[in-house]
């Protein structure tokens, strides 16, 4: 029986040491996971590896932002720790990492997880467990559904809203024109397509004369561009990843069609999309913006820009200041900071959601003037305002008033 008793002793020791190790993290019954007197724990997934890793600095900027906040004393005396894990933009990995953060690390909330399909994969899970799933880096319209998914809230202006802006611009400024649309055949692309059609209202048949889709596997899109050219439309609205977008911009120019182009804001990067397409071919393209473009010298003396620039220098020196994703991360982290400040000492998950749905005219330093963040229990769309911009062959120029909001 010596063996048995030894095992019993060992098991007892193991149990005791586990309890001892876990002790600092043990919470009184009823307390919220991820919250102690000194710390608030948040979690997110980002594509730090794989094809979408160009977006990685979005997440890194958020982590750096909370490090800065902590150095300044934290929020209501608590440090904020953001666990940012790699999912390689692969939804199964997102599920695995999210479950790890929720069930093992015990985060208070998920914040800023990246892209539509990874977030779709955890949408039901977080809502069935009642974990706040806040400020997603995705503009899909389905995140604004408080009735069915009360724990999920997006952040970016949603795709249908953006598409409507373009449709309304055409109707107001060029009422005799016709339009066409070219989009990737997925959730996001169809969101834009439906929004574009809705923007024309009952005039849709009069305006929209051409529509084509592409698949992620299409090596080239010349065939679709030729079909769209046949429609003779004056406007072409393109939605896609930078590679396809650059091909479509170049193709519609080289074919001699040369319609007025509009592109979705998510792929409106000068270095990522317009330079490969050819800056001369991209001149005149329209898009929308809601943050200050860090490469635009309009903001050189702007206090908001200078604050962001100082943050980048001190807390995220490895990030490129020309990369707008660092601006998105900065603004998103500030939105989360505001929610946590509003929570005060009531850091229950319910109150986190209540405060996230209670943001009023929040003007962040790097949002464009006139663009503010507003939410309500029945309004889960933090950013709805934006401004039109036109590419002049070298940089984007804002024009017109703030739209929506």
């Amino acid at each position: 029986m010596t063996n048995l008793s030894r095992r019993t002793v060992l098991a007892g020791l193991a149990g005791a040491s586990a309890t001892a190790l876990a002790a600092p993290h043990v919470r009184p019954a009823g307390a919220t996971p991820g919250v102690t007197d000194t710390e608030i724990l948040l979690g997110q997934t980002m594509p730090y590896s794989g094809g979408a890793s160009g977006y990685a600095d979005w997440g890194r900027a958020e982590v750096a932002y909370f490090e800065m906040i902590n150095a300044q004393g934290g929020i209501n005396g608590r440090h904020v720790r953001l666990i940012s894990l790699d999912d390689g933009l692969s939804p199964p990995k997102t599920v695995e990492q999210t479950r790890r953060m929720v069930e093992r690390d015990g985060v208070l909330a998920l914040f800023g997880s990246f892209a539509t399909s990874p977030n779709s994969a955890i949408h039901r899970y977080v809502n069935s467990r009642g974990v706040p799933h806040l400020f997603l880096a995705s503009g899909a319209s389905k995140w604004a559904d408080p009735e069915n998914y009360p724990w999920t809230m997006g952040w970016l202006p949603d795709y249908p809203t953006e598409a409507k802006v373009y449709a309304q611009y055409i109707m107001e400024n060029d009422p005799d024109a016709t339009a066409s649309i070219f989009y990737q055949n997925d959730d996001g692309g169809r969101d834009f397509y439906e929004g574009f059609k809705a923007g024309f209202g009952d005039q849709v048949d009069r305006y929209l004369v051409g529509e084509q889709t592409f698949e992620a596997t299409d090596p080239t899109v010349d065939a679709q561009i030729a079909n769209l050219q046949q429609s003779g439309a004056n406007y072409l609205f393109i939605i896609g990843q930078p590679r396809t977008m650059a091909q479509a911009i170049r193709g519609s120019y080289d074919s001699g069609w040369r319609p007025n182009l509009m592109i979705n804001a998510g792929s409106a990067s000068v270095s990522g999309t317009l330079e490969p397409a050819g800056l001369d071919k991209a001149a005149g393209i329209m898009s929308v913006a809601f943050v200050k473009d860090p490469t635009d010298d309009t903001w050189a003396d702007d206090p908001g820009f200078l604050a962001w620039s100082a943050f980048m220098d001190e807390w995220f020196p490895k990030g490129r200041k020309s990369d707008v994703n660092t601006v998105y991360g900065y603004c998103m982290a500030q939105t989360m900071e505001q929610v946590l400040r509003q929570c005060g000492d009531d850091l229950s998950r319910e109150n986190v959601m209540a405060q996230a749905a209670n943001l009023r005219d929040l003007a962040l330093p790097m949002l464009l003037p006139g663009v503010t963040i507003n939410t309500a229990p029945d309004d889960y769309r933090p950013i709805e305002a934006m401004r039109l911009q036109r590419f002049n062959g070298a940089k984007w120029e804002l024009f017109g008033d703030t739209i929506g909001g």
Binding site: T213, E215, P242, S271
Partner: protein, 289 residues
């Protein structure tokens, strides 16, 4: 009619892109009897090597031929180091090695060169000579694919080495008995396939832009074209790829929604393979059991 001609030319230039990839697939199949799923990523990596040299200021055609030579060496080394140890292993093991090469090259290219799309220059002048239906680069691609096809055909049919390589693919034991250096032939096949792939990569990159994912779609079409025409026949692979490019475009324009054109094109291929299992121009291989 205008649209028809436009789509016909677009289909032909797409077909030429698929054909350049299909030739590399045929080359390796003719020497090793294997379908190399990493061929596309090898071509992508070659294009990155050329892009890197061009960035250093090397003139286009010098970079072009150095890239072909370097790719040839990488192909030979890949065969010797990665494939030969599993040559006699079950087919599944070899497939896993191919998949490994695919993933490694993809990640390596992203890690070294980044995932943003990059402009890869075309050696042909941009000003269109033949109107807006077809660019000079597309014409040049068709010409180079034609030249490669003739060279491969002549090599495989009229040179001693080419004949020896074909022999190795079909019956290694007999080849050894007649004094053919089987190992070297296999390495040579890999090297040549990598070199053809390098040309394909450098022709495709100006059209689809250079990034680690540039070949993902092309490889599917290259395989489909090669199998449609006959994977053991360079002529068949080229004609099959051109047919695929044109049929896919015309179907997408006149018959079905564009989102179904790949599916319908692949269904057509299956239908043809049911009637002619070795492809339109393929030979029926009879082996003694």
């Amino acid at each position: 009619m205008d649209l028809f001609i436009h789509q016909l030319f677009t289909g032909l230039s797409n077909g030429a892109i698929y054909a350049s990839m299909a030739l590399a697939i045929v080359m390796i199949f003719r020497t090793t009897n294997l379908k190399n799923f990493a061929q596309g990523e090898m071509a992508m990596f070659s294009a990155f090597i050329a892009w890197w040299m061009l960035g250093l200021g090397v003139p286009y055609w010098i970079a072009f031929f150095i890239t072909i030579a370097v790719s040839f060496v990488i192909g030979v080394l890949a065969e010797r180091i990665l494939i030969r140890p599993v040559m006699n292993a079950p087919l599944l093991s070899i497939l896993i090695v191919f998949f490994g090469i695919f993933v490694i090259l993809h990640s390596l290219a992203g890690w070294i060169f980044g995932y943003e799309v990059k402009v890869f220059p075309s050696p042909f002048p941009e000003e269109a000579v033949f109107g807006t239906y077809i660019t000079n680069h597309e014409l040049g691609t068709i010409a180079i694919v034609g030249a490669m096809l003739l060279a491969i055909y002549a090599f495989l049919n009229f040179t001693k080495t080419g004949l020896a390589m074909r022999g190795v693919a079909e019956n290694q034991a007999s080849c050894k008995l007649v004094g053919i250096n089987v190992n070297w032939m296999l390495g040579l096949g890999w090297g040549l396939a990598a070199a053809i792939g390098a040309v394909a990569g450098m022709l495709i990159a100006p059209v689809v832009y250079l990034d680690p994912s540039m070949m993902s779609g092309v490889l599917i079409y290259g395989f489909a074209g090669a199998i449609l025409g006959g994977i053991d026949n360079p002529w068949g692979a080229v004609v099959g790829s051109l047919i695929l490019g044109v049929v896919e475009n015309l179907l997408g324009t006149y018959v079905i929604e564009t989102e179904l054109r790949l599916s319908v094109a692949l269904v057509l291929i299956i239908a043809i393979l049911l009637i002619r299992p070795n492809g339109i121009f393929g030979r029926t291989i009879v082996s003694r059991v």
